[in-house]
């Protein structure tokens, strides 16, 4: 088993499948009388969040607690980081406190990789800059597998702000390892040149959403990062929504079985209309529930045994 989970590329097909299979067993715990397992009793998981996050942090916290680990939440706001402590010094502090795993979210791409060199415990990347977010990719893959029954051979369209999306990067890496075919869709300004070839051979790029929809099993809408809207990546929110937003008529062009995903938080009316987001085809709420199961699986497989 791997020691850290930093990138979607850390996982080969067997390991990724093992995580998804384990997550399926972990999901059963949510329906039980006692929603707790003793597997990580006495282990300490630190959530080290340098960026705002609700669902990812809560999801990791719930996952660690369901496995009986002790959880310490550390957010940069109101901490020693606000006083200017470096990432390395913070890491050494956590190390001294005996953290068995550090779940880190950081605005700088690559921060978790650096952290992995400084601490003895396992490091889980919970999102670094515009780089990667591997547990999101795992929960997306889990959701696709449980809705559609398989991953190999699926056509997945990842639509929107690929340039700034760590979700997109991790998904391309993981999904291509698991045999799905990914097409990146969005305005040319938001899809880096050569990204498809750089991430995974076989990945396509298309600038026309309507051309991709009829042959897609999964449409994954990415959040348009509103804070970047003034950077002239596209002329206006309305134009973006008209060309790349998923609305009812567009959803009607999808095959019967196709599902619509979104990593959240959504901009309703921008990349996705409420009609689509609340339709039975949308897996958005499921993705949140599956996130806990998948993160339980990741924490168990990283910390459950003697893998040092």
């Amino acid at each position: 088993m791997i020691r850290h989970l930093l990138s979607g590329a850390d996982l080969d097909a067997d390991t990724a499948t093992q995580i998804l299979d384990t997550a399926a067993e972990m999901a059963a715990v949510a329906g039980r009388e006692v929603k707790k397992l003793p597997a990580l009793r006495g282990r300490t998981v630190v959530n080290l969040f340098y960026e705002d996050s609700t669902r990812t942090r809560i999801s990791f916290e719930a996952a660690a607690k369901r496995l009986s680990a002790d959880v310490i939440n550390f957010s940069a706001k109101g901490s020693s980081v606000a006083k200017g402590e470096s990432l390395k010094d913070t890491a050494l502090t956590l190390q001294a406190m005996g953290a068995d795993a550090v779940v880190v979210r950081h605005p700088a791409s690559g921060a978790p990789h650096r952290l992995a060199d400084w601490v003895d415990g396992s490091v889980v990347n919970a999102g670094d800059g515009t780089h990667e977010h591997p547990t999101q990719a795992l929960l997306d893959a889990y959701t696709m597998r449980s809705r559609l029954g398989r991953l190999a051979g699926l056509s997945v369209a990842v639509v929107g702000d690929v340039l700034h999306s760590r979700v997109a990067r991790s998904n391309v890496l993981l999904l291509s390892t698991l045999g799905a075919k990914v097409t990146l869709v969005g305005p040319p300004t938001l899809i880096p040149v050569d990204i498809a070839a750089a991430l995974a051979p076989g990945t396509d790029v298309c600038y026309d959403l309507d051309a991709v929809l009829p042959s897609s099993d999964v449409v994954m809408m990415l959040r348009v990062q509103r804070e970047r809207m003034n950077d002239s990546y596209f002329p206006s929110a309305r134009e973006y929504a008209r060309r790349y937003g998923l609305d009812g008529p567009r959803m009607g062009r999808l095959p019967e079985h196709a599902i619509v995903m979104h990593p959240g938080p959504m901009n309703r009316g921008m990349e996705i209309t409420p009609e689509v987001a609340d339709s039975p085809r949308s897996t958005i709420v499921e993705q949140v529930a599956n996130g806990v199961s998948v993160r339980m699986a990741v924490l168990y497989l990283l910390l459950g045994g003697n893998n040092r």
């Binding site: 399926a24 009388e33 006692v34 003793p38 168990y300 045994g305 893998n307």
Partner: protein, 194 residues
Amino acid sequence: MAYPSAAPSSPPRQPSVKVILTSADLQRVVDRIAHQILEKTQGAADTVLLGIPTRGAPLASRLAARISAFEGISVPVGVLDITLYRDDLRRNATRAVGPTQLPAGGIDGKRVVLVDDVLFSGRTVRAALDALGDLGRPASVQLAVLVDRGHRQLPIRADYVGKNIPTALAESVKVTLVETDGTDEVRLYGEEAR
């Protein structure tokens, strides 16, 4: 010119393997345990059989099939994976988690019979009892094993035992079943075969 041959090497030691139960023996033992369960539970009312993977699961199904053949009643069968409740998780590489399947009626208020192939240290059963406690509240819990080989490390005993096999600690008992291994047999391996 021929070199003088070296001292004759001792013949390769055959690992000592002893068949304890043949396929026919195993069937008879399962039949007997099925009868004992019926006897001790007054007809297996409100009884649930839970097999502990790997080989407890097919054994539980076989017991249910035999009980059904003898008395025409169907006893609910389930599978109880105890991986996450083991006390040696940290001493080994991460173990794969298997499925736990409880019968539709659940286990609350039922008489649960845990089924496993070999009873040894008792630690598996301890883990199974902990797992049961998190899944519900059975009225009572019993234990059925194909083989009891002794060397208990915890105060645990079986209610139904297929065969008691006195063993040395260094020996090992291996149960194979058609469902999991292709053949029905119980074998005792000597120390050197491990």
